[in-house]
């Protein structure tokens, strides 16, 4: 019996969910988006996804070797490698994708200590860096339903994306159904809103992500869009165009909810969601650049430790309220007691208080003693009376 016994710390039962199952859920939720991209753009989208995953995996193994660590069985580079191509157009040259992956792994992740220690969302930083370096390639979207060559320069028709039209203050050419179904030009994975939302709901049901962040991001953002529309026409239509263009919904479900860089508590997540909604709106309303979401996310990642510490401070106060409220109540009771006394209130020193208490207790003891003696006397009287009556009766 003895040989097989293993050491383990309490508790001895553990949840069946682990990091592996969480990451697998996210990967499974990303696959349908690739299928839709394959439907609209052909095999190049799948090849982009596979090459992104392979390159990210390779880089993280390389990083582990450089740091002289054992390469861990870690699924996070796969998720990064799957998300980055989905933010880019389907005809993006491979070197742009590879440089985005390299920035994500080698600049954001490994120098800070690998998985769990990165300060910023790797996919967002990777995308933002290539958007700054090659804006003419990253924001040039191919029209849908064309076969793009799997390798080499693409020679397909270019179309104006709804996000670009909105930034110019014009109503997009596509109608809202096109945006929902994903046939509008735009980032490879972020245009098909219905599929993205379905995958997000799958993640929420599987508890791989928290529902608070997407909801607290999308609701305030839509309120802001209703209040300050960028285009003419009915405000509802404008809201739909604002929400469904660009990588907004995709980012809200897959990038904002990244556990490492988001706040820990529900209230912190709420604050992060609302504030990033405001920042994204400001970037889109005043900025001329199209990638409002990624840069706003990077900015808000800086604030998540602050949101955490705000939550902790609030809870710290709440944890100690029991003692505080008890002491306040005692003070109030003491004041009331002091007011009821008609004599001018003179605060006695502690020693006199003790002396008073001693005196009072002595008095009480005396009164009690007197009472007891009286009771005894009465009882004796009664008994004597009773015996007399009995004797009289007997006579």
């Amino acid at each position: 019996m003895k040989e097989r016994l293993m050491f383990q710390n309490a508790p001895h039962v553990r949840q069946s969910e682990s990091v592996v199952t969480m990451m697998t859920d996210v990967i499974v939720a990303l696959l349908p988006i690739y299928l839709i991209a394959f439907f609209y753009h052909g095999a190049r989208s799948l090849v982009l996804g596979i090459s992104g995953v392979l390159f990210c995996g390779l880089l993280s193994v390389l990083g582990a070797i450089l740091l002289r660590e054992k390469p861990a069985a870690d699924l996070t580079p796969i998720i990064t490698g799957l998300i980055i191509p989905l933010l880019l157009p389907a005809d993006i040259p491979y070197y742009v994708l590879f440089s985005a992956c390299a920035v994500a792994i080698f600049v954001v992740k490994i120098p800070f200590g690998g998985t769990g220690y990165n300060l910023f969302n790797p996919a967002a930083v990777g995308f933002a860096s290539v958007a700054i370096c090659w804006p003419e390639l990253v924001f040039r979207y191919p029209a849908t339903m064309q076969k793009i060559e799997v390798f080499g320069e693409s020679t397909v028709k270019i179309a104006q994306s709804p996000a670009y039209s909105l930034s110019l203050g014009a109503i997009p050419d596509q109608n809202i159904l096109d945006l929902l179904l994903g046939s509008a030009p735009g980032p490879m994975g972020a245009t098909n809103i219905l599929v993205v939302v379905a995958c997000g709901i799958f993640l929420i049901v599987k508890k791989a992500i928290n529902w608070i962040e997407p909801v607290s991001f999308i609701l305030p953002y839509s309120v802001l869009c209703l209040l300050f529309p960028r285009i003419g026409g009915s405000p509802l239509e404008a809201l739909c165009y604002e929400l469904f263009s660009g990588a907004l919904i995709f980012g809200a479900f897959f990038m904002l909810t990244e556990p490492v860089t988001s706040p820990k508590r529900d209230f912190g997540k709420l604050m992060a969601g609302v504030s990033s909604a405001i920042v994204v709106f400001l970037f889109r309303y005043f900025g001329k650049f199209e990638m409002g979401f990624a840069s706003a996310l990077i900015l808000m990642n800086v604030f998540s430790p602050i949101f955490d510490s705000v939550c902790e401070n609030v809870l710290h106060v709440l944890r100690h309220t029991d003692n505080i409220s008890a002491s306040i109540k005692a003070e109030i009771a003491a004041k009331k007691a002091a007011k009821t006394v008609s004599e001018p209130v003179v605060r006695p020193v502690k020693k006199t208080e003790e002396a008073e208490i001693a005196e009072v207790s002595e008095e009480i003891a005396e009164i009690e003693a007197i009472e007891v003696s009286e009771e005894v006397l009465e009882a004796e009287n009664e008994t004597t009376e009773e015996t007399e009556k009995e004797e009289a009766l007997a006579k």
Binding site: L5, M6, F7, Q8, N9, A10, H12, V19, A72, K264
Partner: protein, 348 residues
């Protein structure tokens, strides 16, 4: 505050130990002599009952204190509520509940004696309600005492007296101690036994057993039988107990509630923390566990103190939910002990 207080949902796995009757290991009982052997149980005075508890050497299994000291020193009178603790909220463990269910007469007699000593305003027996994986129904009354069903998420034991109004005292006494007190009054028997749940996925005949104090874990497991070699043997509860390596030397004490044999330990495999914040949400005391673990690993005791580490009750909820399988609660408890040592030496 109660808005933020959470816990974890646990599969209780109390069947079939709870519905099976208690197995008594063959043993010789010890008896004591007292000055009032012939007086009836109803006529025992307060001092006599405390004397009985002292002679029988009864230990309260819920906190490990001597029962007579507890009865003598704890407050009595109208402001006091007497709570009989039969809350078994840890998985597998049901030793206290089985006492209430299979020997209700003894439990109510013991409670009656304690009521006589403390003369409290209210008496009730607390039991854990949310045993969702069995159809077992908790009785509404045991003897003449009302059974209060404590529900909700783990840990429930710390919430036993939460609904009491402020300014009222509560005295919590374990159910097994009540049983031993009743035995001392009826048969003048010493407390030489303890109630232990033997469970786990490799135990052939899992049930509650009454064994002499000092029995080794190996003997207890032999009594119930093993289907295969276990990889982990746990002395105590499944959430707070400790793993043992020498079952032939480790003995059960009066506060031991279970011996659990598991076919597979969860192992030492762990990822780095990904900061998902599940531990923060699971903590029943609303502590920021995720940050506290980082402070504890880096030895920043001053920050730990600011984050209220002394409020940690060591329930293990954070470790249970951690998807990276990090020993969060073990790290915190260790840091707490180191802090106490440093304080004693005057380094902090």
């Amino acid at each position: 505050m109660s808005l933020f207080v959470k816990g974890i949902f646990l599969e209780q796995k109390k069947e079939p130990m709870l519905t099976r009757s208690t197995l008594v290991m063959r043993q010789e009982f010890e008896y004591f002599d007292c000055d009032f052997p012939d007086s009836a149980i109803d006529e025992l005075s307060r001092e006599q009952i405390i004397e009985l508890a002292r002679l029988a050497e009864i230990v309260d299994e819920s906190d490990g204190k001597m029962l007579w000291e507890k009865l003598e020193k704890s407050p009595s009178g109208e402001n006091v509520t007497l709570i009989v603790d039969a809350v078994d909220d840890e998985p597998y463990i049901s030793s206290q509940m089985s006492v209430g269910i299979h020997q209700p007469e003894k439990l109510s007699l013991g409670t009656e004696l304690c009521e006589k000593v403390l003369s409290p305003e209210k008496v009730y027996i607390a039991m854990y309600r949310h045993i969702l994986d069995s159809n077992f129904g908790i009785p509404k009354k045991i003897g003449k005492y009302h059974v209060k069903k404590i529900g909700g998420l783990y840990p429930a034991e710390s919430r036993v007296h939460r609904h009491l109004p402020k300014g009222k005292n509560s005295v919590i006494i374990g159910a097994c101690a009540m049983l031993h007190l009743a035995r001392a009054a009826e048969e003048s028997r010493k407390m030489t036994t303890c109630f232990v749940t033997v469970a786990g996925d490799v135990v052939k005949n899992p049930r509650n057993v009454e064994v002499p104090i000092g029995t080794t874990a190996e003997k207890i497991l032999e009594l119930c039988g093993l289907t295969e070699e276990p990889e982990a043997i746990i002395l105590g509860g499944s959430m707070t107990g400790r793993a043992i390596f020498e079952p032939e030397n480790e003995t059960v004490g009066p506060t031991t509630r279970g011996v659990i044999a598991l076919s597979r330990s969860y192992g030492t495999y762990s990822y780095t923390c990904i900061g998902c914040g599940r531990c923060d949400h699971a903590c029943p005391k609303a502590l920021s566990v995720c940050m506290m673990r980082k402070f504890a690993e880096n030895g920043k005791f001053d920050m730990l103190e600011k984050y209220d580490v002394d409020m940690c009750i060591g329930c293990g909820a954070c470790s249970y939910v951690c998807p990276s399988r990090i020993d969060v609660s073990a790290t915190l408890i260790k840091a707490k002990k180191q802090m106490e040592l440093a304080k004693k030496e005057g380094n902090l």
